[in-house]
């Protein structure tokens, strides 16, 4: 059995951007999917926990209950806009679908609303492009379409899973600036899932760092980058080359390989790669504890 996500807790306030960062296999995407119960069951299984959205426990809802929330009050944006869009339906049809589905508005009446949504995400000449198919849009434009779709019902929470990983840097900057602007305008909360520490630094208010299915550290973005208190967070920050770093500074990689989730060590999952490892780390799993105001970490070492 693979414990993809293990006892993860976090919260996000209206208007706030929370970044969940981690490398492949850290469980960041599964965490996001779990919120909307999008992990296929079986083989997946949500063992325990609770997800409170505006005071309501999402895990206690039945299928109809979660469907009423999905796409309506909580929207999701995926990494690959090409595979999330239906290639045989026009863009206009797809962006309008949540409106028809959740509000029962007839198609004729949604067209103008769809056009204004597409205009809001800066698609030029939107009204004349409703009849186009996804392949006639570029990668960046498709991601804008996804964002328009997610905004259709004015959600209170948007979950964006690596929304710009497939895009070029100049387009990435456009898309993230757009998301940030829209959440500011609407007061929606944003959970941004990413592996890119630069993106986190530019766009997030708070950060949760995941490793091997657990949150190992969480803090405000400024605090986390200025005073990382977990060896893994430190390791990540030291291992990335920066545009503003000293010339030919040797990178400090995190030695070793990422863990095998099916075969995790009994103690701290990061212990085999940790520079501060102690005897205790090999047998006991550290819990997430508060170390400063709004700053939590799971580590025994005095970092």
């Amino acid at each position: 059995m693979v414990q993809a996500v293990d006892a993860v807790s976090f919260d996000v306030d209206p208007g706030e951007t929370l970044a969940i960062v981690g490398e492949s296999g850290s469980g960041k995407s599964v965490t996001a999917l779990s919120i909307l119960r999008l992990v296929p069951q079986p083989p997946g299984h949500l063992d325990s926990g609770s997800i409170h959205f505006k005071g309501e426990d999402l895990l206690a809802l039945d299928d109809a209950g979660i469907r009423a929330i999905r796409g309506n009050r909580i929207a999701m944006i995926f990494q690959e806009p090409m595979s999330s869009l239906n290639p045989v339906l026009t863009v206009g049809t797809q962006v309008g679908e949540p409106i028809r589905e959740h509000r029962g508005t007839p198609w004729r009446e949604t067209a103008s609303e769809v056009a204004s949504l597409l205009t809001r995400v800066s698609i030029p000449d939107a009204a004349s492009r409703l009849e186009s198919y996804p392949h006639q849009y570029s990668g960046g434009m498709r991601q804008r379409v996804m964002i328009a779709m997610s905004l259709a019902l004015a959600p209170e929470l948007i979950i964006a899973d690596e929304p710009t990983t497939a895009l070029d840097v100049t387009v990435q900057a456009q898309i993230l600036a757009l998301l940030k602007r829209l959440t500011r305008e609407t007061g929606a909360a944003l959970i941004l899932i990413t592996h890119d520490l630069g993106v986190v630094a530019r766009y997030a208010d708070r950060v949760a760092v995941m490793y091997a299915g657990r949150i190992v550290e969480s803090a405000t973005a400024r605090e986390l980058y200025a005073r990382p208190r977990h060896p893994y967070t430190r390791g990540l920050l030291d291992s990335v080359p920066r545009l503003d770093s000293d010339r030919r500074r040797r990178l400090v990689p995190i030695e070793g390989q990422p863990p095998d989730l099916a075969n995790l060590p009994p103690g701290c999952a990061f212990a085999p790669r940790c520079s501060r490892v102690m005897q205790r780390c090999l047998v006991e799993r550290p819990a997430l504890e508060q170390v400063a105001d709004r700053h939590h970490r799971a580590c025994f070492a005095d970092v």
Binding site: G198, A201, R249
Partner: protein, 336 residues
């Protein structure tokens, strides 16, 4: 420009002159005729000195990977010249290219696709030696393979395992060992760390830099990640839609970019430091890279350029020197 000699400067290992790679577009089934061409690389010139790293950066479709493949003669250049170690290799046939292949090797982006899953690490690393007839002495062959495996930071007992038993970073080490087997002078690295997690990426970047120092290798390093390119390169060429728009030393380029595209590209890369980011002007470039099928008139960047002048839409700027060791193709900069 095209003098009859193929001589390169004393420490120049590779020179590319006005390289063009066009892929023809056909229409019709019975009477196929060419209706156009994708000008993937359209007049690219640069040179690489022995022992240095030239970074080639740009967004998707800029032609950086096609340039790399053309340098290795893995796609046919449509026009231009490629001079490698003093020899014009642009039109060499397969047989004449063969001995030169030992001198120039490639590391690919995807360590999952570039290694035969049915071969053991030992055989993957040793295969180039066999192909080039350098494995006659069994004992020497075994030693060489063991050396290579150790050189890239793998353990001796990993030699008898298969690629699927390794993580992405370790696979990239295997690919590097394989590329180094024939003791090449030039290593062309096409996005060698893009598929790796950050903590692993640093391991491979360090390995490449150590190997360069130890073996005196020359790198042509192709990547879209400007932070990685900055870290590893001595000089950098920025490409946009099949052309080089700016070429400079690393420090010049990052400290004082001259081309508006270089400037925008650097501004788009976030720095992992929230305090710094909050203070940085957030300049967002408009539009997206246009199709190579229909490149814009004049300067190819002009529809997105925040500083475009009237002549930019009609006259294409040439890549011209604007000071020691740097070139830029932009109407805003008059040659020194």
């Amino acid at each position: 420009m095209s003098d009859s000699t193929s001589s390169t400067g004393p420490d120049e290992i590779l020179r590319v002159e006005d390289l063009r790679v066009h892929f023809p577009l056909h229409s019709g089934v019975l009477f196929r005729k060419q209706v156009g061409a994708v000008r993937a690389v359209d007049g690219v010139s640069f040179s690489v000195r022995r022992g240095e790293t030239l970074g080639l950066v740009g967004e998707s479709g800029c032609g950086k990977s096609t340039t790399a493949l053309a340098v290795l003669r893995m796609v046919e250049p449509t026009a231009g010249r490629i001079v490698f170690e003093g020899r014009d290799i642009t039109t060499l046939d397969r047989a004449s290219m063969r001995p030169l292949r030992r001198r120039m090797q490639m590391v690919y982006q995807d360590p999952f696709g570039s290694l035969d899953p049915r071969m053991k690490v030992r055989d993957l690393v040793g295969e180039p030696l066999i192909v080039h007839g350098m494995a006659d002495d069994r004992a020497a062959y075994r030693d060489r393979v063991a050396d290579l495996i150790e050189m890239v930071g793998l353990l001796p007992d990993m030699a008898d395992r298969y690629p699927h038993e390794f993580s992405g970073g370790q696979r990239q080490r295997i690919a590097i060992a394989r590329a180094l087997a024939l003791e090449p002078a030039l290593l062309v690295c096409d996005e060698p760390v893009s598929a790796l997690d950050v903590s692993i990426q640093a391991q491979i970047v360090n390995l490449l830099m150590d190997l360069q120092e130890r073996l005196g290798l020359t790198y042509l390093f192709i990547a879209h990640d400007l932070s990685v390119v900055r870290h590893i390169s001595d000089r950098i060429a920025v490409m946009y839609l099949g052309r080089i728009v700016e070429q400079a030393s690393r420090d010049q380029l990052y400290r004082d970019p001259k081309h508006p595209y270089t400037e925008a590209l650097l501004a788009a890369v976030p720095i992992p430091d929230p305090e710094l980011e909050a203070a940085r002007p957030q300049q967002v470039l408009k539009g997206e890279v246009p199709s190579v099928l229909h490149p814009p008139s004049g300067c190819r960047f002009h529809p997105r350029c925040p500083k475009a002048l009237p002549e930019c839409s009609t006259t294409e700027p040439l890549l011209r020197p604007i000071g020691a060791g740097r070139e830029v193709s932009c109407h805003l900069h008059v040659p020194a």
